[in-house]
Every structure is written in structure tokens, then in C-alpha cells.
Amino acid sequence: MRESDIHISRVDWLVVVIYFALVIFGWFNIYAAVYDSQAPQSMFDMSINSGQQLVRIGISVVLIILIMVADYRFFENLSLFIYIFFIALLVVTPFIGKEVNGQVLTVGFGSFRIQPGEFAKLATALALAKVMERPTFDLSKTKNQLIAFGVLLIPVALILLQPDTGTAMVYFSLLVMFYREGLPQRYYILGFGFIALTLLSLGIENNLYLVAGIGLIVLILIIIGKKSWQRIIVFSLIGLGMVAYSYSIDFVVSKLPDHQQNRIMVLFNPNLDPLGVGWNVTQSKIAIGSGGLLGKGYLEGTQTKFDFVPEQHTDFIFCTLGEEFGWAGSLVVIGLFVTLLVRLVIMAERQKTRFARIYGYGVISILLFHFMINIAMTIGLFPVVGIPLPFFSYGGSSLWSFTILLFIFVNIDASRAMQLGRLG
């Protein structure tokens, strides 16, 4: 509140402009997704999605103003309370929430409902920033690693109970922030190795090829290195472990619920049952692919209009964009996201406190993950998981949580002149 003139002048306007560009572009696409040329309704009509989204955008602006006038220390001081509040809310959600399609995601009263899972991301990012802010906190130490992962895994466990796999996955995006904060590289190498091996075991029909490949690599490593018995035994054991893992992956997948199993298998074979499980991905790709270079023109799309793409105003909103604005539209939106994310990295790096920097990377991690996974799933690069495209997708909880997430950081960044340097 004090020195608010200085505060405003330090706001990073590029981020604000990109935010509004995405929100407004998203709003136009939400209207396009429901637009019916036979019975055109006003974009502002409250009975359709675009009208409702406009109200949510309005509420977002109010939220932004509230956040921007708050003192930056407010968020830091309250971060653990916010975290505990949302954890508590997640705990009670299954009991007081509303069940939709076997999932209990929302709480609230009447028509006002929010998804605690969406807001818990923000709370977790704040809490982690608070916990990791101590100068002595070192992520290469096992104890600190356990603390950090503990804060991370509590909401994950609760969200998996709802169950909402997609949202739960988002929390692991904070590994990007952990990386910045010094979590040893070997974890990431190991992690990517596992992911690669997992994908290979799922993607390659005949596991014998994979076994042969692993065998060959182990053999080469043994031959080119020095030939001590110890080395040979270690490599052989690793090789055997990989083989065992790849078989166990197939086994685990076969034990997954059918709909998840199918979502994974469709990724490797999109033509697998295009009218059944592959429907979403197939139709989504058709919609986007039919857009061509410049798109069919605003409101001229046919695929997204006529419900060929399911959930297309929420998680598959990118289809409308791809169909009506073509690759050029994709380029603009992806360009905006990349610019925003890079800008946020630069902003995070200029923070004087560890809390601010860590929170900044938390924001980057969450936005990057949503952006990457959401678009990747609409074009068949990733299994279909129900996560929205930040600022773009229809829905109050998602828009508000991303808005709050982003603008807390904008506030902290704008207040950096008043912060005492505590980087260590």
C-alpha cells in the first residue's frame, strides 16, 4: 500500500500484456467453440460459455487488483497457513464435495464451486518457497530432500484419492524448480532414464527387441571399459534390472484401470480404435490438422463446432485455435507462452530473496508443465490427461488459480526494490 506509485512503475508490464493477450484470445476461442452459425448468440450472452467466462475474467481482474495492492510480505508470511488450509480442504473434499463422473473435484455451495486441487498447486509453490528459503537449506542433502518432497507429496497423495491423475502429475513439474535450486543432476538422469525405458517398454510391442538392445549396450560398455569382474557384475545386474523393469511396466500397465491403460496405448498407436479410445486424440488431431497454415478463419471451424472434439472448450481448447487460426495461430500462442516463461525465468533470476526466486520458479514450473502437456496431448504427443491450458481454457478455478499464481509473483517482483537482499 505504501509507496504504491513506485510499486506500479515496477510492474513487469510485458508479463501483464502477455497474460491479457492469452486470456482474451482464449475467450474468443471459447466463444468459437460454442458458436453455432444456425443460431448465433452474442459473445456476451450469459447462457453460453463465453459469457460466463467473461464474468470470470472480470473476477480475475478484481483478484489481480487485490493481489497488486497487497503487501508482498503478506504472501510470504501466510504461505504455510495457505498451504495448510488447502491441504485441509483437500482432505475434506471427498466428504463434502460433489461427485462428477466418479471424481470428487469441487467444493462450494450453489453454483459457486472451486477445485481445491487447482489452488493447492499455488499453495504448494508458496509453501515450498517458504520452506526452502533458509540459507542453510541445501537440496543435495538427503534431509532437505525429504522435507521438500514431503511438502510436495502430501497434496499429490490427496489429489490421487479424488482421483485426478492429471492434476497430481502437475505437482511433479516442481522438479524444474528443484533443479534450479540444486537437486543433484543424477536424479534427473536417472528419472529420464526410467521414463525412456518405460516409454520403450510400452512402445515396443515385442519386449525381446528391448532385451536384445539392453544386452547389446551392456556388452559394449563391458568391452570398451576396463575388464574387472566387479564392473562386469555391476553392469550385468543393471542390465538385468532394466529388463526386469521393462517387463514389470507391461505388467503394471495391464493392471491399470482400462481407461488409463487405453490412454497410454493410444499414444503409441493412434489408429488403435479411432472411434473408441482413440477418439479424443484422433478427432483433436483432425481438428488441428485441418486448420492448415492460416486456419479456416474465425468461427469457420467445423470440427470443434459440432462436438467432434470432446471437452473442447476446456482441456481441448487448443483444437479450436488450431482449426480456425491454423499453424500461424499455434505459432502466436506458443510464442506468447515461450516469451512469458522465458521472461519469468529472467524475472526469477533478478530476485533478491530466495523466497521470491523459488516461488518464481514454482510459477514457471507449473505454467510450463500445463502448457507443454496440454498442447502435447491435443496433438497426440502425450496421453490424454485432463489438465487445462493456462489462461486459455474455460473454467473459473483454473483461470483464477493461474491468475493468482502469476500475479503474486508479479507483485513480489514489483516490490523487489523494497526487499532486503537475502540471497545465499
Binding site: 490438422g289 485441418s290 492448415g292 467432434f308 499453424w327 510450463l368 498442447i375 496433438i379
Partner: protein, 600 residues
């Protein structure tokens, strides 16, 4: 401590952007298959079948109209049969039929509709409609079948049927698709382009459940179907009907032409069939049985059967002789039966007497003079030159080559040239004595009944004809019929030569066809007998009437009915009376023809 890590994160962000944009470029810009899939998804192309043109007779009475029928169509990609037994029960087909139709549909297209059950009756349609909702990929397509108020003129009108694979391939304009109906014979085939109209196309948008969401781009790309043009035929429905009555149970042809215009008034091919049988669901069954019928009811005799012209040809010989100056009305020859057989009549005869009495030796001698004009001293060579010159003159009468009637599959017949005999006997090894039977219309000459009717028209017109045709106007516009039917063809014989010929033909009835004579209506005619090596000779008669103002020219062929003066002349006389007076005053003659006992 971690300076390289923010850079790594920035690189990672760019990399993600790059991967997404590359993949998007691949599916949006590089690969256009998605665009096609999108169209197939949301935009349905609905063909709007036009009404086929109607056919009227020359007096505006309806000959052919359209009757609505329903086809059950299948899109194999969307089709799910579910419980097969139930399906077979509901749609009243056998398992074999279902498999056969389904496989045919699959072979044609996986995504485009093909007929599964064709030509469902209105009651079956109403019943099926309730079940259709349970079977994705099935829908009803409405179209119409041809119907005929009177079961006549089957050959002339022709029939329509489903386009076959070969016709589809030949269709360079890509107008037709599998399952389309096209004219396969008769006028239906000849005037296909006029009768069919133009198919229209509607593009409509459907949502994921196939629910109509209105026209695509407000119908910008839609085209309305254009109904086929109505055709007014030259056929006189009453005359045609009467002719078919007379020819019932007999084999043969009747062709009646209006001499002044070449318009075909009636064209009967017997045995005939009911054109209503060759429409609708029974088409294939009826077609198979007609096609295997030994009496060949599908064979269009007036234009496809060829016979030697016989004695009637003597009139042509007379005209050629007169025009050449070789014969005059006073030219006299003896009836020398040592040359060629003849029946008993006074001898010698002049030209008038020769026509009246159909004297064979007269023409044997006259034809020798036409052929051997001593252009060359070599008698063989002279015959060759003479034959070819004569042949040209005969062809001008429209004999021995296609007249170009507006029906498919017209046969031309033949008038032999020197080459024919060269091939047969060797060059320079044949002379008049080899070819003399041409003099009386026998031997190697073949003509169709249509050509003979046209010949009668030439006699009536005193030397010209309009090519015979079946269509008077298209969309009530007589100028829309092909130009050639409005073009006068001169036969190259001066009109005054016909005067005596016409008199002789009128007189000839008293010699050879007394049954055909009518009080107050002078018929000029000539009998003929087409020799038939396989059995009883064919009875032939050509005529025109009234002699002084010809309104009808007619040729009648009754196969295996012997002498021309009986079956053919009687039939022709009745047809003429029917057409000119529209009443039959000689019930006993009608009875005689209907009874059909001509050999005695």
C-alpha cells in the same frame, strides 16, 4: 553455484516450444489428410436426384412417368449389424443377400453409401423406418422408377437400369456414381442426357451424432437438381396399341411413319413385353427371364432384324431404271420364265404391268441393262462398274445402311459392292449371271423393317425422306431434336418418275393384296415375300395412304406367315384405317389378322 541451470531451463523452454511447433507444422501444414478427414467428418454431401423427364405421345398423352420408390443405403464404415438374425427378419432379406450386398458395397467404397436393398415398396419403407435408428450406417434414399400407363411401346421407349461398371468407367464426365439409373435401351438410352436432368448436391453439416446442423456455408456450394426434360414422342399411342394388338402372338415388326416428317407413328416389335415389368424390384428377375426366352422378346426387330427386301425392291429398280433413262413406262419385256421363275400373268408387260404383277423376268432383264451399260468391253469389269454405280443409287434410298434412328443398336443391313463378290468369287470371276438375284431383291441384300417403312415414305414423298425418328420435341421445343431429323434427304430420282410408280402400287393391290383394299381410301402398296431358308417365308408389305395425300407410310413384317398379300397386307391395311379414320370398319379382316392362320 547454479549459473548454468537457469540457462538450461531457458533452453528447455525453447525446446518444448520448438517440438510443439514442429509437430504442429507436420500435422497442420505438411499433412493434408486431416483436412480431408475433417470434411468427411462434418460435411455430408447429399445428392439431390432430379426427376427424369416424362414422355408423351404425339397427341400429348402420357407414355412414361415416374413412381417414387425407396432404396435402403449402407455406409459400410458406419454399419453395425448387431444381432444378425433380427436384422434379417426386420429387413426381410436372406443372409446370403445381406453378405452379397454388403461385400459389393465394401468393394465399392468403405465410406460412401451403396444400395443394400433396392426398391423397397412404400409399405416396407414405412415399416423399416422405425428400425433404422438402431442401425448406424443405414438410411433410406428416395428415388423414382419409370411407370407406363399403357403397357406398350416397350422397345421404342426402352428401359432404365442401374449403371454397370463398364459404363461407369466410360463416363468421362464423372456424372454417374454406382447405383445411378441410366437409360439402357430405346429412347431412354438415346435421350439419356435430356431425360436425366442434372443431379444437384447439397452440402450439409452434421455434428458428431450425425444430426443435421444446417447447410454448409449457408448453401454457398449447393446446386439444385434440374429436372429432366420432357419429351414428346412421335408415337401415336392409339396406333401403337392397336398395332401391338394385331401383332399379338406373332413374330415380326410394324413400322409406321409420317412421310412428310419422318416421324415414327408406331413401331412394333413382336413378341413384346410389358415395360412395367422391367422396372422396380423385379427388374433383374424379369430381365433374366426375358433374355433367356427363345422368342427373344428383348430383340428390337424393326431396327435389328434384317431380311432380303424381296419383291418390293422391284419398285426401287424401276425408279433407278427410269432415272437412268434405261426404262420408260413403255419399256416392255417378255415374262421369260427360263430366266427366273414367275407366276402366271399376261406377257409381255410394260413397267406398269411389271410392278402390278411383280414380274420377276422383267426385272432380271431390266437389271441387266442397268448393270451392263457397256462402259467396259470386259464384261466382268463392266459388271463391277455397273454394280458399284447401282449400289450408290440404292444406298440413297436409305437401304442397306443405318438410317440413324434415335435408338441404340440399329442394324444397317447391306447392299453388296463389288468387293463383296471379289472376296466371294475372286476378282474378275463374277458377272451379271452371278448377281442377278439382286434384281428382285433377293440374294446378298439385307434391309431392316425400318428401312422398308422409310422406303414407303420415299414412294409417298416422291423422292425424299426425313430420317425416321421417335421424338417430336424436347421440352416442347421441336428445334431441340437432332438436326439430322429435320434435314431432307433426296434420293436422286425426279419426282415425276414416281407418278406412274404410285399408280402401279395402287393398282398392285388388286393383283396381289386384295384384302388390303379399302373403299374411299386409296392405298398404294407392294407385297413382298422374304425368303426364309429355315422355314415358312416371311410375309412383307409396304404401303402408304391416302395415295393422293399420304399421311402414313408403313412396313409390316410377319415372320413365317408366307405370302405378303395375306398377313402383312391385312395388318397394314388395318393400321392405315386405324390411323386415318380412327375406326375399324372391317371387323372380319381384324378377326382374320387376330386369328393368325395365314398359311393355307
Amino acid at each position: 553455484m547454479n549459473d548454468q541451470r537457469p540457462v538450461a531451463i531457458i533452453i528447455f523452454i525453447f525446446l518444448i516450444g520448438l517440438v510443439l511447433l514442429t509437430k504442429l507444422f507436420m500435422i497442420q501444414v505438411m499433412d493434408d489428410s486431416f483436412m480431408k478427414k475433417a470434411e468427411r467428418n462434418a460435411i455430408q454431401r447429399v445428392v439431390d436426384h432430379p426427376y427424369r423427364g416424362l414422355v408423351y405421345d404425339r397427341n400429348g398423352k402420357l407414355l412414361v412417368y415416374n413412381n417414387p420408390i425407396f432404396d435402403l443405403m449402407i455406409v459400410p464404415k458406419e454399419f453395425e449389424v448387431g444381432d444378425t438374425t433380427r436384422f434379417l427378419e426386420l429387413f426381410k432379406i436372406t443372409k446370403e443377400e445381406l453378405i452379397e450386398s454388403y461385400q459389393a458395397a465394401r468393394k465399392y467404397s468403405w465410406v460412401k453409401p451403396s444400395p443394400l436393398i433396392k426398391q423397397i415398396s412404400t409399405t416396407d419403407f414405412a415399416r423399416m423406418q422405425d428400425y433404422l435408428i438402431d442401425y448406424p450406417g443405414l438410411f433410406i434414399m428416395t428415388r423414382s422408377v419409370r411407370s407406363y400407363p399403357l403397357p406398350i411401346a416397350a422397345h421404342a421407349l426402352g428401359y432404365i437400369g442401374e449403371i454397370n461398371a463398364r459404363q461407369l468407367e466410360r463416363d468421362s464426365s464423372n456424372y454417374y456414381v454406382q447405383g445411378d439409373y441410366v437409360g439402357l435401351s430405346g429412347m431412354e438410352r438415346f435421350y439419356e442426357d435430356d431425360l436425366r436432368g442434372k443431379k444437384g448436391v447439397k452440402y450439409k453439416m452434421v455434428n458428431v451424432r450425425g444430426v443435421d446442423k444446417g447447410p454448409f456455408k449457408d448453401g454457398e456450394y449447393d446446386t439444385a437438381s434440374i429436372a429432366g426434360k420432357n419429351i414428346t414422342s412421335t408415337i401415336d399411342m392409339d396406333l401403337q396399341k392397336y398395332g401391338e394388338l394385331l401383332m399379338g402372338g406373332k413374330k415380326g415388326s410394324v413400322v409406321a411413319i409420317e412421310p412428310k416428317t419422318g416421324e415414327i407413328l408406331a413401331m412394333i416389335s413382336s413378341p413384346y413385353y410389358n415395360p412395367n415389368d422391367l422396372t422396380g424390384a423385379d427388374f433383374s428377375k424379369t430381365y433374366r427371364s426375358l433374355n433367356s426366352d427363345e422368342s427373344k422378346p428383348l430383340f428390337n426387330r424393326p431396327i435389328m432384324a434384317t431380311y432380303p427386301p424381296g419383291s418390293i425392291f422391284k419398285v426401287v429398280q424401276s425408279l433407278i431404271g427410269l432415272q437412268e433413262g434405261i426404262l420408260t413406262p413403255n419399256t416392255t419385256f417378255a415374262c421369260n420364265k427360263s430366266l427366273v421363275a414367275c407366276h402366271n400373268h399376261p406377257s409381255p408387260v410394260n413397267l406398269f404391268g411389271a410392278i402390278r404383277n411383280s414380274c420377276n423376268p422383267y426385272y432380271h432383264q431390266a437389271f441387266r441393262q442397268i448393270i451392263n451399260q457397256e462402259v467396259s468391253s470386259n464384261t466382268y469389269k463392266d459388271t463391277e462398274i455397273g454394280l458399284n454405280a447401282w449400289r450408290e443409287k440404292v444406298l440413297k434410298f436409305g437401304l442397306g445402311s443405318r438410317l440413324g434412328v434415335d435408338m441404340p443398336n440399329e442394324k444397317g443391313g447391306s447392299v453388296p459392292s463389288s468387293k463383296y463378290y471379289d472376296r466371294f468369287y475372286g476378282e474378275g470371276r463374277w458377272k451379271y449371271s452371278t448377281i442377278y438375284s439382286l434384281s428382285i431383291g433377293q440374294g446378298e441384300m439385307l434391309v431392316t423393317p425400318l428401312q422398308m417403312a422409310n422406303l414407303a415414305a420415299i414412294f409417298a414423298n416422291k423422292g425424299y425422306y426425313y430420317p425416321p425418328h421417335l421424338v417430336k420435341s424436347i421440352d416442347n421445343d421441336p428445334t431441340k431434336i437432332p438436326e439430322k431429323y429435320r434435314t431432307k434427304n433426296e434420293v436422286g430420282v425426279d419426282a415425276h418418275h414416281f407418278d406412274m410408280i404410285q399408280d402401279a402400287m395402287a393398282e398392285a393391290l388388286y393383283g396381289t393384296a386384295t384384302r388390303a383394299i379399302m373403299k374411299d381410301l386409296v392405298i398404294a402398296g407392294k407385297t413382298g415375300t422374304a425368303q426364309n431358308p429355315h422355314g415358312e417365308d416371311h410375309s412383307v408389305f409396304v404401303a402408304f395412304a391416302p395415295k393422293d395425300d399420304p399421311k402414313i407410310a408403313i412396313a409390316v413384317y410377319v415372320e413365317n406367315a408366307g405370302w405378303g398379300g395375306r398377313a402383312a397386307a391385312s395388318t397394314a391395311s388395318l393400321m392405315i384405317e386405324k390411323y386415318i379414320r380412327n375406326e375399324i370398319t372391317r371387323p372380319e379382316l381384324e378377326q382374320y389378322v387376330l386369328a393368325g392362320n395365314f398359311i393355307y
